[in-house]
Symmetry: C2
Subunit: 189 residues, 2 copies
DNA sequence: GTCTATAGCGGGATAGAC
DNA sequence: GTCTATCCCGCTATAGAC
């Protein structure tokens, strides 16, 4: 134990957590080093530039979401239950007073290195596409009822989850639950 | 012209714009100075600490929103039209690829000086309260139709506007329009 | 792989001349 | 009010010993 992969993974985990806490410009290699009891030079060995670290966070998040999607299929859940599970992904951020990855990246977007900007677009695209398909299929089978296009509804749901997690920080943690309640009501047949 | 008030106002205007572009940790006194053709020391004369500048931005935004609310009353608009105007406030950010003030502050929240954190809470509270009242009254008069509590619906609408403006940066500027379309549909009787 | 040491830059902030 | 000059700090990143 504590071999290469462990340290590298610990750095990535902590950097991700700091990114969701404080934004890309709000944490430093020094923060990570202090928390792990190592020196900043060691982090540069694993991730030469902060850009590399940022890109790795997003790439892993995309892979993780795709695996999560597959695991849902294996559990044979109905559409409504899948939407619940999707909301639960965001709930875990809210419980730590963190924002979601998309929200963090998009808010800092103009200050991000270009490699991270590209990955940020890809990340948002993957989530939107997944939810759009879920909503369209679910409406066809009668699991959901909503007006307009499935794409628009997917945007509405993700952006309200994203926004309400942020708002949670300034409203005694009540906003996220409000948004989920209202989302659930608005798509129920 | 170009008296005290002008320079001070120009600094505040530019700082606000930079805040919505790049976040609180993404701009510096140097950025402002360069854009205005002055030196950073001059900015410190008007706003001794960056904290003072940040607080002033939020305080002005609150006053501006309250004036805006009053101006709506004088125009004798119906509830549905008022909601349109509210969405238009966010549209002006989207058109510049900026995020809204609430989204910027809430995402950076944990890195903000305490005085700014308090003002951030106040700002969100003012907007939420205003929209909650509009929705409740509008439902009573038949202008709106939505399930659940007016407070929850207000959270849903503001958080989706906030989130979709952020998402606009990574989705070819299509997200904000999607969200507004869907919000309009979801509350129409 | 991790360390010490350091380079090099940019940040916020202040003193004092004009 | 605005300037020059400067301080001190924290940041990313690199070189080279161990």
């Amino acid at each position: 134990m504590t071999d290469i992969r462990d340290t590298k993974k610990q750095i990535l985990d902590l950097a991700e957590s700091l990114l969701l806490d404080r934004g890309y410009n709000g944490f430093s290699y020094k923060d990570i080093a202090a928390a792990l009891g190592i020196k900043t030079a060691s982090i540069h060995y694993h991730y030469p530039r902060k850009t590399d670290l940022g890109v790795s966070i997003i790439e892993r998040a995309i892979r993780r979401f795709e695996k999560w999607g597959l695991s849902l299929e294996h559990r044979n859940l109905d559409s409504s239950r899948k939407l619940d599970e999707f909301c639960s992904l965001f709930k875990s951020f809210a419980s730590r007073q963190q924002v979601c990855l998309g929200g963090s990246l998009q808010t800092d977007f103009k200050t991000l290195p270009e490699e991270m900007q590209q990955k940020s677009c890809e990340f948002a695209s993957v989530l939107l596409q997944w939810l759009e398909v879920l909503l369209r299929d679910g409406r066809n089978t009668g699991a959901f009822r909503f007006p307009g296009e499935a794409r628009d509804e997917a945007v509405l749901i993700i952006s309200s989850l994203q926004g309400s997690i942020q708002m949670d920080r300034v409203t005694s943690r009540s906003s996220f639950r409000s948004a989920v309640r209202q989302i659930t009501l608005s798509v129920s047949p």
